[in-house]
């Protein structure tokens, strides 16, 4: 063999491998094992996080293999693509032979046919059946339905068949996987996943989305009219609800009550209740220094002077429930223009020793808050492919697992026994394309009656 021929045969061997069930097994197991990685390694963190957590070298590896977003990494996508190609090629390769079997007319009876069938038995009867068609029908018809007479020169022959369609089950399953993949691709190409934080009384007409174009215009505006929470008697949350109204060109078009598990779709964009927060609108503080006490009213992120002093205060953060100690304010104290101190002030614990900035002892007298509702805002035109694909897959499983293509041939012919007397010989044979053991056992049961007659 020449070098060129060797390399061609090697190439075709490689191609054959990629189109083989062995490859499918390798891919399924590889996908399973690699998927474990993404459940152990935190996902979606910035690269610096991994460099800090692990050695610089493994940080580089994580960057190269995109393990920070493993399920969308180049190599994982390649594995999925390979699986898709393998699935299509394997299915096409097998489909032509399946098609031949499904469209073929039943094979005519011969000694050879019966020898090749997984179930085949011969019976000898002294008397031929009165009406062979009725006899065969009563013997097997209950299990195989209508029989077809086969034409031949010697004796009579019949043919039973059922479950021919079941040979298509596996193709239904495989195409359902493709439909699901298609849905996922359509979703990622033509859909978006966004997020919206919206205060009570506020309107928004654009959302934040993941990806390079961080802001997206909705084409309409959504207003949070009211956010409410309800609790069970034991204090556990029972309901989060956002009352929304949708507006276009200044005109209200529709209203909706959004709850967890109860999303609302407006113009193809679906809104989901996702989270909530509180935001202080006005805060009343008392400040004590030496024996002097003064009161100031402040707003978030607005610097307010402490009357009669060179000091001023700025509230930069608000946490709804800090370490289970209730609401806390993150504050900075300035003297003239310079920062002199910062710290957390606990609103519900006025005696907390940390409620102190510089020489001031701070006490929160009152906080008026406003709710913020966090909404997931998505559009996914591929989702119906997922539901249709899943349904097809289940139907395909039932067909592929619980139905099999079963064929039975019966040949009744005259024969002389050893003493030369006339006899009837009956040959019964059959095959099933799945679960042959059970089929053979069933046939043995059914043909027991023949010996009795």
């Amino acid at each position: 063999m020449s070098k060129a021929q060797t390399s061609i045969s090697l190439l075709s061997e490689i191609l054959d491998f990629f189109a083989s069930v062995k490859m499918a097994l390798v891919l399924l197991i590889t996908l399973a094992i690699t998927s474990i990685l993404g459940t152990i390694l935190p996902q979606g963190e910035p690269l610096a996080f991994y460099r800090q957590l692990y050695t610089p070298w493994s940080g580089k590896l994580i960057g190269f293999l995109q393990l920070y977003d493993m399920y969308h990494s180049w190599w994982f996508q390649w594995l999925l693509l390979l699986l898709t190609v393998n699935l299509i090629v394997c299915s096409l390769k097998r489909f032509s032979s399946t098609w031949k079997v499904v469209t073929a007319s039943p094979r005519s009876v011969s000694e050879h046919l019966f020898e090749t069938l997984p179930f085949n038995q011969k019976f000898s009867l002294k008397e031929p059946p009165m009406d062979s068609r009725v006899w065969v029908q009563s013997l097997l018809g209950r299990h195989f339905g209508k029989l077809t007479p086969l034409s031949l020169n010697q004796g009579t022959a019949f043919y039973f068949e059922k479950g021919r369609f079941s040979r298509f089950g596996v193709y239904l399953v495989h195409s359902s996987v493709l439909v699901i993949f298609m849905g996922a691709i359509i979703g990622s190409l033509y859909g978006f996943k966004g997020f919206l934080e919206i205060k009570e009384g506020e309107s928004r007409d654009q959302i934040f989305i993941k990806g390079p174009h961080a802001l997206k215009k909705l084409g309409f505006s959504v207003r949070l009219d009211r956010f409410t929470m309800a609790f069970y008697p034991n204090g556990m949350p029972r309901e989060y609800r956002s009352d929304l109204s949708f507006r276009e060109n200044g005109q209200e078009k529709e209203r909706a009550h959004l709850r967890v598990n109860d999303p609302f779709t407006y113009k193809g964009v679906t809104f989901y209740q996702s989270s909530w927060d509180q935001f202080p609108t006005s805060i009343k503080l008392s400040l004590k220094k030496g024996g002097q006490e003064s009161e100031v009213g402040i707003k978030m992120e607005e610097r307010v002077a402490v009357p009669g002093t060179p000091f001023s205060l700025l509230a930069v953060r608000y946490v709804n429930n800090m370490a289970n100690l209730g609401p806390a304010l993150g504050m900075i104290l300035f003297k003239d223009q310079e920062e002199v101190d910062q710290g957390w002030v606990l609103a519900d614990h006025p005696e907390f020793h940390g409620n102190r900035l510089g020489e001031f002892q701070l006490k929160v007298k009152d906080i008026k808050t406003q709710y913020i509702s966090g909404l997931q805002v998505n559009q996914d035109p591929g989702v119906w492919f997922i539901w249709i694909g899943s349904s097809l897959m289940l139907i395909g499983f039932v067909v592929a697992f619980y139905f099999s293509h079963q064929q039975v041939w019966i040949w009744i012919r005259g024969k002389k026994d050893s003493s030369g007397a006339d006899q009837t010989e009956i040959l019964i044979g059959g095959t099933a394309h799945k679960n042959r053991g059970a089929f053979v056992r069933k046939m043995e049961q059914l043909t027991k009656k023949v010996r009795v007659t």
Binding site: K22, L25, L28, S35, Y232, R238, Y240, L394, F397, V398
Partner: protein
């Protein structure tokens, strides 16, 4: 009479059932096996009653929901599904030897639910994320699937014990003669995997529908989702190996045991070792 009391009886009931199956096999006494069979049936019914009662009790507390909402309730349901599938298999095969390997799983699930010190056994109201009709469909199909895989794993263990000791000249197999035959065991391993695989698929699909209405995405690579997919991929590989490559017996039995290990990790490991959206399953 309340559901907790009934459930503690069930724990002991399943223990004695497993014990009697074992004694019956060791002493080769069919009668004791019959008693074990009656015990598991009686306590299966008791457990059914207890689950219904717990459901009723939650309505009396005016927070009515199906008892499928936390780890404790899921363990009880898991144990119930194992008992259900085992009883069905015993009825189909008339073999009580399988009970020695299958009923301990039903007992262990109950024992874990009853005796673990950190277990929250109270009936609690449903958090907003769990208030969905898909909860029942999702949990029932997943756990029926898990139970089918558990029974398949027991059958695989039996296969691996029996296989190397069959075909020897002396037909003195002792205890092993009470096991179903090698072809029957192999067929049962396969059949239970098919049932589990179908139900796991329905479980993942109903979970996806639910996730889509609760979080807006049908799939978010949350650790529990991912591990259920890993389990699914492994059993998919097993089915291809069997249906197309003609794998049989020992290799399938080992794969079935590895598959069940994945199931256990999906169920427990993810709750305790990894964090994610399914955190309510951990308490």
């Amino acid at each position: 009479m309340n559901s907790s009391l009934l459930l503690s009886w069930v724990t002991f009931g399943y223990f004695f059932s497993a014990l009697f199956y074992l004694i019956s096999l060791v002493l080769k006494k069919q009668g004791i096996g019959q008693v074990a069979g009656w015990i598991i049936r009686i306590f299966f019914l008791t457990q059914t009653g207890a689950i219904i009662l717990r459901w009723v009790e939650s309505y009396q507390m005016e927070i009515g929901h199906a008892p499928l909402s936390n780890l404790y309730e899921s363990l009880i349901f898991f144990s119930w599904t194992i008992a259900l599938i085992y009883i069905w298999i015993e009825w189909k095969t008339k073999s009580r030897a399988i009970g020695v390997f299958a009923t301990p799983f039903a007992f262990l699930a109950m024992a874990y639910a009853s005796f673990s010190p950190n277990m929250n056994t109270r009936i609690q109201p449903l958090l907003p994320a769990l208030q969905s009709n898909w909860l029942i469909a999702h949990v029932i199909t997943c756990f029926l699937g898990y139970a089918a895989f558990a029974v398949s794993c027991s059958l695989s263990i039996m296969y691996l014990i029996k296989k190397p000791r069959t075909g020897k000249k002396k037909d003195n197999q002792g205890l092993l003669s009470f096991f179903p035959g090698i072809p029957v065991l192999d067929e049962l391993v396969y059949q239970t995997i098919i049932i589990g695989f179908l139900l796991l698929t329905v479980g993942i699909a109903t979970g996806a529908i639910w996730a889509h209405s609760a979080w807006g995405t049908y799939w978010s690579w949350d650790p529990k989702e991912t591990w259920s997919l890993i389990t699914w991929l492994l059993y998919a590989a097993l089915l291809h190996a069997r249906m197309v490559k003609g794998w049989y017996g020992t290799r399938i039995a080992w794969l079935s045991i590895i598959g069940f290990a994945c199931v256990l990790f999906t169920y427990f490991g993810v709750n305790f070792l990894l964090s994610g959206l399914h955190s309510y399953g951990a308490t």
